[in-house]
């Protein structure tokens, strides 16, 4: 079946504890891997237009730590960190991830996820599959919920743009 050629990331929920995000890129695997694992380059894409990336630390070896932080326009700082578990250059990267602003009463153990990024060749480009594995359905749903605020904010921004364009 021919899939439409839009370049949106596709999100699916393979099990109650998993989130899978897939996206095709028009570039060879080694470049996608490079952009995914080089601090100066991560700084340029991880913000998702939602703020400014203030810190990207990547100690790319098994047991090495990573930490990303960004500041949103309203001054809120969000940060994540984790540890690399498995590294197969240009193929596969497994790491843990923990959000640093956990609400009270949520244990780090419950909130930590294991993220597996897989880089495969697809149609002359690269398919990146990012599998986020949580400890429970509750934490998975909380992660999805965190995106809902962004979604809402986007919708408000678009509404504002649309309103301006009418004047």
């Amino acid at each position: 079946m021919k899939v439409t050629s839009d370049s949106r990331a596709k999100l699916t929920l393979p099990t109650d504890e998993q989130i899978l995000i897939e996206r095709d890129f028009d570039a060879p695997k080694h470049l996608v891997y490079q952009a995914y694992t080089t601090p100066e380059l991560v700084k340029r894409w991880w913000h998702a237009n939602r703020g400014e990336v203030t810190l990207v630390e990547i100690d790319l070896r098994v047991g090495g730590r990573w930490r990303y932080a960004m500041v949103t326009p309203d001054g809120t700082e969000v940060a994540f960190h984790g540890e690399y578990r498995e590294i197969v250059p240009n193929e596969r990267l497994v790491s843990t991830e923990l959000y640093e602003g956990l609400p009270e009463g949520v244990s780090e153990d419950d909130a930590a996820t294991v993220n597996t990024a897989t880089f495969t060749e697809a149609d002359g480009g690269t398919r990146l599959a990012l599998l986020i594995e949580t400890k429970s359905k509750v934490s998975r749903d909380a992660i999805i919920d965190s995106g809902m605020e962004d979604g809402l904010q986007d919708a408000l921004d678009l509404l504002e743009q649309a309103a301006h364009s009418l004047h």
Binding site: S7, L13, R23, A35
Partner: protein, 117 residues
């Protein structure tokens, strides 16, 4: 009652790729099962099973017209699900759109380097 746990969870019901394909197909309008079977290239019992799950969570509705059963989307039931999933999906879409820009630079740089040799 069906015993599959997914049937009780609207989000999982909709996240299953085949069921998403059914919803996509129904987005163009009401269709009988046979249409869906043909469109998706699945066996009829499979399509019926997916439709049953989607009906249980209110994502599709059915009506009888003559001897045909016609299925259609229930947009109102789907909106919260769509909003819920699409926010996080959009976060990654936006990240990856920026990553495209980075990759264009890396490709140009790599080609430039080759040209120098």
């Amino acid at each position: 009652m069906a015993r599959a746990p997914t049937t009780t969870d609207a989000f999982n019901a909709v996240a299953e790729p085949r069921r998403r394909a059914i919803l996509d197909a129904l987005a163009d309008g009401e269709r009988p099962v046979n249409d869906l079977v043909e469109l998706l290239g699945l066996a009829q019992p499979q399509v019926s099973k997916h439709l049953r799950v989607l009906r249980q969570v209110g994502a599709v509705e059915v009506r009888d017209k003559g001897r045909q059963r016609l299925y259609r989307l229930n947009g109102r039931a789907l909106k919260p699900i769509h909003d819920w999933v699409s926010g996080y999906e959009r976060l990654w879409s936006d990240r990856f759109d920026q990553l495209d820009v980075v990759l264009e630079d890396l490709k140009a740089k790599e080609q430039g380097d080759e040209g120098d040799q």
